[in-house]
């Protein structure tokens, strides 16, 4: 069935399709970015495809390819029960201009999906009514799911506590802990007898 869908798109947009494959029921069309929205509009409006639902929209980062990013959209037809996946390869190597047309005016669900895609990959959807970060905070710099974002880099929204060695405080004393420590302490006020000790700070030199 969906193989026919691929043929339908190829017939109507002979210049738009770069590649297509169909494997185990997964039918995929790789489109030119210019015709992204036209093909999507056709798939929604044509009675033979009738894609009433945009299930998912996300991106993939291939740092070694030249159109570096691949935006992937999944469609489903509620009336006809078939699915189709569209891909578009966009973006230059340094990831500065990564742009694609928005699908927000065709499917309402594209709004948040494209915002998430912008949040994580920095894909700018042209014509989106409200393109800002959806999961992260506005102070965040960079796009965390890009392959060149350092895996361990954090950008705390709230300043960490001003405590020496807060990066690596051992959270317990030597004899703390329920099963071993509890019996060693006397009940009552210990302030006069034993000064409460701060936990040992582990420094990189200790390791």
């Amino acid at each position: 069935m969906s193989q026919a869908l691929i043929e339908l798109v190829k017939k109507n947009f002979p210049d738009a399709v770069l590649a297509s494959h169909s494997q185990l029921g997964d039918d995929t069309l790789v489109l030119k970015p210019e015709s992204w929205k036209a093909v999507a509009r056709f798939l929604k409006d044509d009675p033979q495809s009738d894609m009433s639902m945009l299930t998912d929209l996300t991106a993939v980062d291939f740092p070694d390819r030249d159109p570096r990013f691949e935006v992937v959209a999944h469609f489903y037809s509620l009336s006809l029960g078939h699915r189709l996946r569209l891909k578009a390869r966009i973006g230059d190597r340094d990831g500065e201009t990564v742009e694609l047309d928005t699908l927000t005016d065709l499917w309402g669900s594209a709004n948040w999906l494209e915002r998430e895609c912008y949040d994580m990959f920095g894909v700018k959807f042209l014509g989106h009514p409200d393109l800002r970060r959806i999961l992260l905070y506005p102070e965040f710099e960079g796009y965390p799911l890009r392959k060149d974002y350092p895996a361990e880099k954090i950008q705390p929204l709230l300043q960490y506590r001003d405590e020496p060695g807060i990066e690596k405080v051992a959270p317990f004393g030597v004899d703390e802990g329920m099963s071993f420590g509890r019996q060693t302490h006397k009940y009552g006020i210990v302030a006069e007898e034993a000064e409460p000790t701060r936990p040992k700070i582990i420094t990189p030199a200790d390791n």
Binding site: P156, P171, M178
Partner: protein, 198 residues
């Protein structure tokens, strides 16, 4: 009623069923505080399921005087941080902590709240002690209800002692101390099996 130790005098007249005891005021106050912990559950993730298990009748931490949940921080003494804290939640958690009235205690429930766990990435705070001071850490993913009860009892112990240094719940059985546990035997049997050696 719980025990009140460290009393200096206790007088029970012969033939009477009631008497009196004298103690230090701080000890009495700490004894009252540790058995009336009003808790504010800050539940963000899957550890919440285990929190429900601890609060429901089979384990039932209300036996330890920690019965009443208060969903307003202004009415609570003990903040249970249950689950992963992401960077966007950090200001909320700090604000809730600051709204609580003194004296207040914080319990980190689970590995994520204690240290971030395996969420070593852009989104998560590696342990709530980066944001607010913490009294008791209960590691585990999620911790067993027994470990949580151990943590609660450890906190009560610390309140009684007036000790604010952070404490951690250790496993009841230390594998080093008890080499005959099933886990150690399993590891030994695996390391000695010829098929798995490199």
């Amino acid at each position: 009623m719980g025990e009140l130790k460290g009393t200096t005098t206790s007088i029970l007249e012969p033939g009477q069923t009631s008497g009196f005891a004298t103690t230090k005021f701080e000890a009495l106050l700490a004894w009252a505080q540790k058995y009336s912990l009003f808790m504010n559950p800050f539940v963000t993730a899957c550890c919440g399921m285990e929190f429900m298990a601890v609060s429901s009748p089979r384990y039932d931490f209300s036996r330890f005087g920690s019965e009443a949940p208060r969903f307003s921080p202004r009415q609570s003494d003990l903040l249970w941080v249950v689950g992963t804290i992401v960077q966007r939640q950090a200001p909320i958690l700090k604000r809730i902590y600051e709204q609580m009235a003194e004296p207040k205690w914080v319990l980190a429930f689970g590995t994520c709240a204690s240290s971030g766990g395996f969420y070593d990435n852009y989104a998560c705070v590696a342990g709530l002690d980066k944001i607010i001071p913490c009294d008791v850490y209960v590691p585990g993913c999620p911790p067993r209800p027994e470990a949580v009860l151990d943590g609660l009892m450890l906190l009560q112990d610390k309140i009684q002692r007036g000790d604010r240094t952070p404490g951690i719940v250790k496993p009841r059985i230390d594998p080093v101390q008890a080499p005959d546990t099933a886990l150690v035997q399993l590891r030994r049997s695996r390391s000695s099996s010829p098929g798995l050696k490199p």
